[in-house]
Symmetry: C2
Subunit: 212 residues, 2 copies
């Protein structure tokens, strides 16, 4: 019974995602759905990316169960930002995005970054109308993540391995992580970055420009 | 509509959780529902805890979307273990636990540790019949987690701040993390541990004995 319910929710979601996609397309906005486990560095990546793309007009939608910390961080960069508080929901869905689009200056944006709720599972199941999904894995989470949370790796176009500055202090087998991720999704582009030190951010930003 | 569906699922779940609770009670088993974000160190904590509680008979139920890595790690310690693969589901529910109880030697257990799917959100919503919920937060995840994921902090009896060996390399404000967690849940007992170095594990294990 539960499976049936979920399938109906997903169908309804896909219809609204398609509406969002048309809206984005008509405004010429490239849309990224950014996903990760809690604390992997999504907001830090958004901050670094905005700094690197200073010739493009970037907007941000922040998704969190509760709180406005992330939106306040982005707001300090003088970038249009809206915070969605999902209440209990552990992911953003297309309808939530549709609801807040009227709060965004769509005519004045080149790129929209949608920062999803911190969760390696459900966000990957819900399209919101994005051009591509991007995921961050903090290397402190260990090398077993691709095989344990395969869907997000399969759905993503890029994987950023963040907190690479901590590598000397960790036991993670980074090659195994990359190999397992690429086995799940051979077209995945992988970046090693540190949002703290700035390592790898330029390479990522250049790639993002190319995708757009 | 979605909210109504979830509420019905939760009611059905609570009925089965109550059944599980009766089964555990009749066998004198103390049950822990262990939750965290992906890669915070749940399985490592289970391993360390089993080592410390070597005079008690411990069993483990492992919950993962996919894979058997965790169950294999526990199996090496010669402890009864069952792996649940949830498929898509991002949490364990009472029915999943009920289904696998017949695989566990209930007459020969003092403690059952149920390791939930790595997710800071949904697992906290689903009782499985446990005596207490315990959560791990890897300090690499940052100090904003209590305010962003309040339910799990509210529902848990104990919070383990893991990977404390990495503290010199991180910017986290640990006092703020603890203060925010205690504001959400004043009865929370907090431990600073490192499953890698063993720091704090003895204190945690002693507390656990006392709870039982």
């Amino acid at each position: 019974m539960k499976v049936k319910v979920i399938s109906r929710i997903l169908e309804a979601n896909d219809r609204i995602a398609e509406e969002n996609r048309k809206i984005f397309k008509s405004h010429g906005i490239f849309v990224i759905n950014l996903m990760s486990a809690p604390g992997a560095g999504k907001t830090s990546l958004v901050e670094r990316t905005i700094e690197k793309l200073d010739d493009l007009r970037v907007g941000v939608i922040e998704g969190d169960i509760a709180g406005t910390d992330d939106a306040e961080r982005i707001n300090r960069l003088n970038v249009p930002v809206v915070q969605i508080n999902t209440g209990g929901a552990c992911h953003l869905d297309a309808n939530m995005i549709n609801e807040v689009l009227k709060e965004m200056p769509l005519n004045d944006l080149d790129i929209l970054i949608i920062e999803n709720v911190g969760n390696l599972v459900c966000p990957a199941e819900f399209n919101v109308g994005e051009d591509m999904k991007v995921m961050i894995l903090s290397i402190t989470e260990g090398h077993d993540k691709p095989l344990k949370y395969p869907l997000m790796f399969r759905e993503s176009s890029a994987l950023l391995l963040n907190k690479i500055d901590l590598l000397p202090h960790l036991d993670i087998d980074l090659e195994r992580t990359k190999r397992d991720a690429l086995t799940l999704n051979p077209s995945l582009t992988i970046f090693e970055v540190s949002c703290k030190t700035g390592t790898g951010i330029e390479t990522w930003a250049q790639w993002l420009r190319g995708q757009r």
